[in-house]
């Protein structure tokens, strides 16, 4: 049986009076893509800093690949690849030199050019000093350094920050490709969409506590967040628009009709119902954001409003 990729057992970290991480238990299995979610200040970074032995936990034990994060640090760091949060590059050294440096320090014989290719940095760019790189190029280089030595576990702390949508998509593809090679991926983000697209499971941190661990789909099902549909109409419809399953919080104001739809089919039913009465000139759909997802875990009012949604495709 393989050791879990990450195992946290009652890990707490206090800075003076402030508890940054409060007895977190978490197991990430080998082979998973795990998304680590939470707003800034929730304790994600501190948790990752404990995993990387940047800070020492106040209590509890933390291990990765069956190795203690502090005692077996050197052996462990040979087998993981990391893109730390707020990482820095050496402005005066070339991109290729960075990858060579990582390879020398890991005792790996990777071909730097192959790794730079894999993350999409051209030969020409790889020869330039990293000080001339854009944020996106720097991110690619950091990723190439993390891939050195064929790691068993990739830890990416906010890897999508500073990437344009195109770069973020390429990163997701890369994460999937590495995962297919058998690499466990643990990555943190405060943007739900980035995590949702690739993660098998997610953990949500809030105020130092791990408040939920599940697949995104199951989390959504448990929540009453859904999508907010806004329809611009030529005139405000009369009469009752309610009574549709999985559509709630309907508002009519300022030439728009809004409703929260708990599952995909409900959106279409809602739009159809409005179009039966008036002409829709424009529409906007906002999927539930992390804030909404969070609110359901942290905000008591939201929890009280929770209503049990009918399963997807429920009869109208």
């Amino acid at each position: 049986m393989t050791d879990p990729a990450i195992e946290l057992d009652g890990v707490s970290k206090r800075f003076g009076d402030v508890t940054a991480v409060d007895s977190v238990d978490l197991t990430v299995e080998s082979g998973e893509i795990f998304g680590f979610l939470g707003p800034n200040g929730a304790g994600k970074s501190t948790t990752i800093n404990v995993l990387l032995d940047f800070v020492e936990s106040t209590s509890g034990t933390a291990s990765m690949l069956g190795l203690d994060v502090s005692d077996d640090r050197e052996t462990l760091h040979d087998r993981i690849g990391v893109v730390p949060e707020n990482y820095g590059l050496y402005d005066r050294l070339s991109g290729r030199r960075h990858v060579e440096l990582a390879a020398e320090l890991k005792g790996a014989d990777d071909d730097p050019d192959e790794l730079l290719d894999r993350v999409g940095l051209s030969r020409e760019d790889a020869g330039r000093p990293a000080g001339e790189y854009s944020t996106g190029m720097g991110q690619r280089l950091a990723l190439a350094m993390a891939l050195v030595g064929a790691p068993d576990l990739l830890i990416l702390d906010e890897p999508t920050s500073g990437l344009d949508p195109n770069g973020a998509r390429e990163l997701r593809n890369l994460i999937r490709a590495e995962n297919e090679r058998g690499v466990t991926v643990f990555f943190s983000s405060h943007i739900l969409e980035q995590v949702e697209a690739v993660a098998d499971r997610v953990g949500i941190m809030n105020e130092g506590e791990l408040v939920a661990v599940d697949s995104i789909g199951r989390l959504r099902q448990q929540l009453d967040t859904g999508a907010r549909v806004t329809l611009h109409v030529d005139r405000e419809p009369d009469g009752d628009l309610g009574g549709l399953p999985n559509v709630r919080d309907i508002e009519v104001m300022d030439g728009t009709v809004r409703g929260t739809c708990l599952e995909p089919a409900a959106k279409l039913r809602f739009i159809d119902r409005v179009r039966e009465r008036v002409t829709v000139t424009d529409l906007r759909i906002e999927e539930s954001s992390l804030e909404d997802l969070f609110a359901s875990y942290t905000d008591e009012d939201t929890t009280e409003r929770r209503s049990d949604p009918v399963g997807p495709g429920g009869v109208a």
């Binding site: 940047f54 800070v55 760091h77 050294l93």
Partner: protein, 266 residues
């Protein structure tokens, strides 16, 4: 292995900083230049010029060494590249020792070039022995290494680069700029307290005079010129000042390491 890689990386990175080289060049050329001026105009002997030149270098090189070294850890910590290094296998000790070696090598190259240039100026203008150049350059080098070690130790023990700069400048002020004053204050205080009588020079007070690395290096250089390796007076011998210099090479960097080892790299 890791230590050597980090030292080489640091050397490659730091040696590409043009500001660093510009400052070094100005300081070293002015040392050689002033020495040349002295040699041309003062009518002093080669030995006297070397002695004055050593004292001049003893006030210039320490600030260059401290500035060169004080960012060794803190600059990487602030830029975030330390997080990258520590995500890789090297330990904090590896990083610190690698940095110390890299900066030491850089400072030694600068000292060697400047010292040799100064020595050659004196040698061609006034004559003198090659042996005098060897001890001139050698003890300047040892002094530079001590100040680099102090700077790296300060860097390892500081949480921010601005703090490291402040501590490094303070170290320069105390050890180099103000030490005469401090020594006098200690002497007057000791007389006032009745620990010693005025006009006396007890061994401990002489040790106070030898305490800063630049003073120790100067004493070692003069003793070497006099050929006193293990003389009857330890203060006029090479061994005691060298011992003081060795203490400067190891003590601050060890203290800095202990703080760095327990630091939160957040």
């Amino acid at each position: 292995m890791s230590v050597r890689t980090i030292a080489r990386k640091d050397l490659a990175d730091a040696s590409r900083s043009t500001t660093l080289w510009a400052v070094t060049a100005v300081v070293l050329l002015s040392t050689a230049g002033v020495t040349g001026l002295l040699a041309a105009t003062s009518g002093m002997t080669a030995g006297e010029v070397f002695g004055l030149s050593f004292q001049l270098a003893g006030t210039m090189l320490p600030i260059v060494a401290l500035i060169l070294a004080k960012g060794a850890i803190t600059a990487e910590r602030e830029a975030g590249s330390l997080r990258v290094l520590l995500s890789l296998p090297p330990s904090r000790r590896d990083v610190l020792v690698g940095k110390l070696l890299g900066r030491t090598a850089l400072m030694l190259v600068a000292t060697l070039v400047g010292g040799l240039a100064t020595g050659l100026v004196v040698l061609t203008m006034l004559g003198g022995s090659v042996a005098s150049i060897v001890s001139f350059v050698g003890f300047l080098g040892l002094m530079s290494v001590a100040f680099v070690a102090i700077g790296v130790g300060i860097s390892a023990g500081s949480a921010s680069d601005s703090r490291a700069t402040a501590v490094a400048v303070s170290a320069y002020m105390i050890l180099v700029a103000l030490w005469n004053l401090i020594q006098s204050a200690i002497r007057y205080g000791a007389v006032e307290l009745g620990v010693m009588t005025a006009g006396n020079e007890p061994a401990w007070l002489r040790l106070v005079g030898l305490f800063p690395p630049n003073r120790a290096a100067d004493a070692a250089y003069r003793a070497a010129v006099d050929g006193q390796l293990f003389g009857t007076d330890p203060f006029a011998s090479v061994w005691l000042p060298v011992l003081v210099l060795m203490a400067w090479v190891f003590a601050p960097v060890t203290a800095g390491y202990l703080r760095f080892r327990d630091a939160q790299i957040g």
